[in-house]
Symmetry: C2
Subunit: 340 residues, 2 copies
Amino acid sequence: MKPTLLDVAELAKVSRTTACRAMNNEGRIDEETRKRVLEAAKSLNYQPNRLAQSLRVKQSFVIGVIFSNLFAGHFYSEIFRGIEEYTSGQNYNLILGCSDGSVEKETELIESFQARQVDGLIMTPTNHMTPEAIEILENSKIPVVFIDRCSADYEHDYVGTDNLLGGKLAADYLKQLGHRNIAVCMGADAETMSVTDRLRGAVQVFEKEQMHYFTIMGKSKARNSKEFSYAAMLESMDMLKSNEATAVMAMSDSVALGASRALIEHGYRIGKDIALIGYNNDDFCPYLTVPLTTVGQPKYELGERAAELLLKKIRDKKSKCNTKIILKPKLVIRQSCGEF
Amino acid sequence: MKPTLLDVAELAKVSRTTACRAMNNEGRIDEETRKRVLEAAKSLNYQPNRLAQSLRVKQSFVIGVIFSNLFAGHFYSEIFRGIEEYTSGQNYNLILGCSDGSVEKETELIESFQARQVDGLIMTPTNHMTPEAIEILENSKIPVVFIDRCSADYEHDYVGTDNLLGGKLAADYLKQLGHRNIAVCMGADAETMSVTDRLRGAVQVFEKEQMHYFTIMGKSKARNSKEFSYAAMLESMDMLKSNEATAVMAMSDSVALGASRALIEHGYRIGKDIALIGYNNDDFCPYLTVPLTTVGQPKYELGERAAELLLKKIRDKKSKCNTKIILKPKLVIRQSCGEF
DNA sequence: GTGAAAGCGCTAACAT
DNA sequence: ATGTTAGCGCTTTCAC
């Protein structure tokens, strides 16, 4: 049986309380006894039971992370790293779940994490959180920070990048290059707030500059966005030609990669016969045969900032609940839109 | 304040015990009262405190997952998905940490997870787990399953793929294609057991078939294997020429991608001037300009099987501790070694 | 079928 | 500076 604090106390010939104080470096305690307790603990290989601790102090030092999708490039891995490195230094652990885009699973996870008394929650909500799910969140009074996406009609804290600006950046760049006919290629997550914002941003530019554009939206049930956009682009080849599109703007780098494959198979040379721009600046971009021009997001920082904000909220509960941290995307020019 | 079981009991005019029985669908209880309790619970929005439960029953229904690296392509994401989907159906939650290759962090995580009373642990150990870390694991008596990699000298359960075979598969294929001079390109994780096994497998073939080979091993401190192998390959261009290598065998798809970029910049056409084979069958492989031939691993299944094995161990503690589940890799032929 | 009481391992008021 | 006692929210004998 694992040794408990009482075992330590007995070995050190003190009371539980004193042992407890020694373990937690509390004030009023004799240096001598403190050492004795620590030694006893060590010799017994004592390890405090965090469950009991958490129960008692009503603080678990666990934070829940819910992603809606684990495939999406390195995007979530990087965000997770940001969260992990920030929080682990402060003695927190992370409990992770993936809703896989399902509202039911999302709700289950929220409830399950709540039941485990997480101190806070960082999540990318599914496109359409049900009012029910939102109510659960609000009732629970658990601090929540949304990341990357957020739920439209609900007061919340949020960390993300300026997707509207990102869309504009991409569109502007295409405009500068003289493109007038743009194919916008969507991924399976087209309804996501971050994606619709990108599109809105781009469209603002298109309209202002009187550029033509049309969207390519697959309908396959592909399991990842590369496959999805590959199929979509393949189906849209005629459309591309009849519209005389000279550039394709993809809503993510994965989408760009899938689309590029279809383009290549149809004889297009990326960066020469057609321009291609992605989004996210995934790891693979610089290494493609023709390195992908894209709009970069500070993924790691996104996670870090979300963690920082959440911990702040946890510390002073009263902090008002409507902070938005919006980081800036930036254009990363490589060769896929031609060289200049 | 959150309602407790006692609140529910009072509202339903029964004792805590009865309320507890009702919530847990236990036997000896009147159907009437059961319903009454359930209603009371619902009206109070009662949610059992899993911390208290776990403390009492000495089972947390949490399992710890420790990866050594979160960048490595989709490899770990897929594994995680496998674990997550298998365990979440059984009411488990996952607490995830990343050792980032550091033995200290790994040890910290193990201890931290232990303190949280995880029911079991799934981990990819760092290359060189210290005896200390191993001792901690053994003392704790927590069921552990290693995944992908394993620690050499220590009895354990393990789920992985047959990397020796994988290496052979790749080498054999190259041989069949008539290649006699192979450049083997290593990533930053060259000392990893899974990678050394791949190399050993390949070398067995090389020697048997009297093929020549040499290794390319970068020395940069790059943050990902694409960057790492890109730099390495760039530095090794002369070597490649003087050895008249006609094929490069990369220890992972990321490494292949980085290497391919260097090759392309030096005028090589992948699949024509030089053959390139990767490992893992990452998502991006089919979509590259010249789709990458590679050795595929069943990543999702790896996670699933590990979870399955761990839960089995948790259930019957006495099950002997030396199960090895070795899945088979398979060659995935695309175009990067030429077409036939 | 139901309840009283004890206790999981820890911490914190309150005494001394 | 140390100890006594109560209690976090739950489950589980054991008695009725």
